[in-house]
Subunit: 251 residues, 2 copies
């Protein structure tokens, strides 16, 4: 990983702030630089000590910055951009287990190996710090630990939903669920859903093939459920019917 820069420590904030999901601007916990969004404010005397070991890293699109099975030495907080998390089988079959965006933490694990890989979708900025440091941070800031627990809980709920999808839903139900999930994730409240990922990523996330994803989207178009826009965008036309489909209410 050659494309990393040291933290800009000149911009010292008065208060320590966690990058997070609540979408307020603020300063990164680990390096003190201004982040796109933060969620949690921590009163702080020890900011100088905290900023000591922080490193900001820039990751280019397509780059795998966490290798599945590698030694889990670092902890990451995404300050901008989005990444895909995945697991793979020896013969190349791949399962994307989730997407992570601004504010998410990566590398939370009890094991000493990363259980999944992580690859940048677009250009990603993240703060990286060592595991011993993370432990120390959690000792010093209980709110951080609480926040990690909340994030883990949410991810667990998402994972359970995904297990239901992968184990029991049909291709149509999977794609419908995916579109609605993407809509919820999008910052714009509109029904124009951005799909920045490739069909291949969608397929690997939904446990399908690219052909089935493509066919299913085409079917949704002819059924007037969605309209497929330019530039990786899908507009939801019949929200009700799509929700019914995603919930598995009727075939």
């Amino acid at each position: 990983m050659s494309d990393q820069t040291t933290c800009r420590r000149d911009a010292r904030p008065r208060r320590l702030i966690l990058a997070g999901a609540h979408r307020q601007p603020g300063y990164c916990l680990t390096c003190g630089i201004r982040a796109q969004s933060v969620c949690s404010v921590i009163d702080d005397d020890d900011i100088a000590r905290l900023a000591e070991t922080a490193v900001e890293t820039l990751v280019l699109p397509g780059r795998t910055f966490i290798e599945e099975g590698a030694a889990a030495t670092d902890f990451y907080n995404i300050t901008s951009g989005s990444v895909k998390l995945f697991k793979a089988l020896p013969d190349g079959r791949r399962q994307i287990t989730g997407f992570a965006t601004t504010g998410h933490f990566l590398g939370l694990a009890v094991s000493d190996q990363y259980a999944f890989g992580a690859e940048a979708i677009d250009t990603v900025r993240l703060c990286r710090f060592s595991r011993p440091r993370m432990r120390q941070l959690m000792d010093d800031f209980p709110r951080l630990e609480r926040r990690l627990l909340a994030e883990a809980s949410n991810e667990l709920v998402a994972a359970q939903n995904q297990m239901l999808l992968l184990g029991r839903k049909t291709a149509r139900e999977r794609v419908a669920s995916f579109l609605l999930e993407r809509m919820r994730e999008a910052q714009d409240p509109a029904e124009d859903v951005p799909l920045p990922m490739t069909r291949s990523d969608m397929a690997d996330y939904l446990g399908l093939t690219i052909e089935t994803v493509s066919r299913t989207l085409s079917w949704m178009r002819t059924e007037r459920l969605v309209a497929i826009g330019k530039g990786h965008t899908v507009r939801i036309v019949a929200m009700e019917r799509l929700q019914t489909l995603a919930a598995g209410d009727a075939a």
Copy 2:
């Protein structure tokens, strides 16, 4: 839920102990009764206050004690027995998202609704306490919060493995993975794997049908990978080959 009894508060321990995975005998955090296994010791002055609202509940086999979508009012710690966690679709399709045994916590959620249901497999004893109380406990005992985070992290890893299984593995690979997982879970180090759950549970856990599970086990028997014993037990005969199969190395 009529089959619950109040906590036996007469057995006051000197120290507060968390029921957990490390398999040492000790006292339950919430009610102070002796539990089959505990993992974490917490020095304690406030034991009387802590035991105040604790309730021990006995759950009979087959009983659903957490209803998916119901108001998430309580938090549970299993002190003995094993339960299955599941999600369901309106038409009855079901996905078992995991099994929980002695020491596991249930009900961890940011949302105010349970994201999954929980049903007792055998007779289950558990300690139940309210969410506000749980919050208070976490405030008072940071080690509890740390333990919950560790448990959530482990579950997240397990969930990611299961997503790979459900999204990308074949029926044979799924059953092989399941047998090895059960072997790891079992307390006996032997290669005799106990399968207390029904074929239907296995199928709903692996995203298959009971017929496919049955056929796959029969195939494994004829291939001399396993020997099917009496009373819901399977003996692993060819460990190496089973591991290769589970890892998805060769078809």
